[in-house]
């Protein structure tokens, strides 16, 4: 038997497909470069700039004079924390938005982040827990809140809109719980309280970074193996199921993965405002929909946190935590989306 590949006939499909893929690959590479550049910047420059050779020497453990402490103890943990937390928020946020077909359905708007944050504060202030235990409480709370919101908003018709409204209500409630718990913790300074209210990278240490890295590996991996099915759910449940997707199992896996990512990140750095919410729509715009929204959203999340934290420390008149900066960027965008959604009902 001879195998004849008719290249003429295969042209339109593969050509069109390759063009879309090429664009996405270019976008991902640009985002990656941007991210590397930002990390280099945050490692080299703070109040003053170190020459690249000193930074490299410090990172590789060679004698770097005074640079060792600044780079390895101050800037590196902060940069790594920003990187992994941003990846988690970007991935988790976009996963929710794609799954629920609505940019407003991101975990920081529908109360998942607020739940994880309130639980983390509760675990620290009331239960005196630390490290992994705090993350575990935060993840459980995140899953609990997700179940609660699903339950409260289930029923026929307009499920998306109801879910978001219920989520916003739950979110507001949980934020007041966090504020209340913080009032009750007089030993804390303002900076520490700010972490739990808007998210902050202040005082980040390497030991706090590793749990988030582990979460990224586990839940990010779960999300990666569910990505194709998630992409098909965008065609609607019936179409996805007709293509062999187990829609409920997929939604369960994606919810678990996204809540895990967001809750671990929140328990390490606080609910960094609007990063989860902003990353997906920006990624969708850059990759024009497509199959590459999730990785692009992860990279954008990391860029937002790194850039926001850097700007908050060194580029504004006052030193501000990263959440204040990203919040200031996110709020107008939220307004814009709500106005637009009223007009034509946004999708992702």
């Amino acid at each position: 038997m001879t195998l004849i590949i008719d290249t003429q006939a295969a042209a339109p499909a593969s050509h069109a497909r390759n063009r879309g893929t090429r664009r996405a690959v270019i976008v991902l590479n640009m985002l990656g470069l941007c991210l590397v550049g930002l990390i280099a910047l945050t490692l080299s420059c703070g109040q003053g700039c170190l020459p690249p050779a000193h930074v490299l020497a410090a990172l590789t453990g060679a004698d770097a004079g005074g640079a060792d402490f600044v780079v390895n103890d101050l800037r590196l943990p902060r940069a790594l924390m920003s990187l992994v937390v941003g990846l988690c928020f970007g991935l988790g946020g976009a996963a929710f938005q794609v799954m629920l077909r609505n940019p407003l359905a991101s975990p920081d708007i529908i109360g998942i982040s607020a739940g994880a944050g309130a639980a983390a504060v509760f675990a620290i202030v009331v239960l005196s827990l630390e490290g992994w235990a705090v993350s575990a409480v935060a993840v459980s709370a995140g899953l609990g809140i997700a179940t609660l919101i699903w339950g409260l908003s289930s029923g026929r018709g307009a499920a998306g809109a109801r879910l978001i409204l219920v989520g916003i209500g739950v979110s507001a409630m949980l934020n007041s719980v966090t504020s209340y718990l913080l009032l009750d913790a007089p030993a804390w300074d303002r900076a520490e309280a700010m972490r739990w209210l808007t998210g902050s990278m202040n005082g980040a240490q390497l030991v706090q970074v590793w749990p988030v890295v582990a979460a990224l590996a586990v839940f990010g991996g779960l999300l990666a193996v569910s990505a194709r099915d998630l992409d098909l759910l965008r065609l609607g449940d019936d179409a996805a199921r007709a293509l062999g997707v187990r829609s409920d199992a997929t939604r369960f896996r994606v919810t678990l993965a996204a809540v895990g990512l967001v809750a671990f990140a929140t328990s390490a750095a606080g609910p960094v405002a609007f990063v989860a919410f902003l990353s997906g729509p920006i990624a969708a715009r850059l990759t024009r929909g497509g199959r590459f929204i999730l990785p692009a959203a992860g990279l954008i999340g990391a860029i937002l946190v790194l850039a926001g934290d850097y700007a908050g420390q060194f580029m504004l008149p006052a030193r501000l935590p990263v959440g204040v900066v990203t919040g200031a960027i996110g709020a107008p965008f939220l307004l814009l989306l709500i106005v637009k959604a009223n007009r034509n009902g946004g999708t992702l």
């Binding site: 295969a10 499909a13 497909r17 019936d238 179409a239 293509l243 062999g244």
Partner: protein, 276 residues
Amino acid sequence: MTMARRLRTKDLSAGYDSRVILKDISLEVPAGRITAIVGGNASGKSTLLRTLARILKPKGGSVLLDDNVIHDMPSNAVARIMGLLPQSPIAPEGITVADLVGRGRHPHHGLFSRWNAADDRAVTDALTATGIAGLAERDLDTLSGGQRQRAWIAMALAQQTDLLLLDEPTTFLDVAHQIDVLDLLVDMNLSRRTTVVMVLHDLNLAVRYADHLIAVAQGGIHCQGTPADVLTEATVKTVFGLDCRIVTDPVSGTSTMVPIGRHKSGSVGQEAQSRK
């Protein structure tokens, strides 16, 4: 070329939550032929099609595909045999035609398998068969209604299944595009022997294009058989609650239904009105 598949139901009941919409359905879809499901609004046509397609779990009885209970089969295995174009699929923002049609290849892939030459061929064949190869790179939102419907059908064709189920594939299309889509389905049926099951709301087009007709009414199948057998004035009265005349369609030579209303229906219409 496709394999002949046996799709039938045994005492099937279908519905949602606690509500049973259809009871005790027994039917067999003729292999290699075109079957049309007709019935009034909200009579349960989509419910029947979705249950046949393994999307809705039966409330009782079973759907059998080649003598296997379809709800016990793995979803991926079913998706390689049977495709479905739902009544209102969602077009993700910014998706291109080639991308959409490529989604139809999903059931032929495992978790780690990559896009291959067979996928390219299937997509190209589907685009060519539906006459939209030239639109492969266009965004779906920029197409006309007829072109968009062809793209969705192409996605189902790229799935390369022996059975193809379609829920109202001609809604929202003007009459020329309706004929166009139905002709396309007949082409598929003739060239690949694909078994087609479709819900159609236009009774006359169903009669003209289908080999087998299933009329759904009052929570069950009112009657089924060849279009000539099913299309009677009595059936139309029960299924649609409409008075009509059955005449011969001068173009196709099949029967066709001419509705009788209260107005504009000549003397028969006045008769109908005076009887009320």
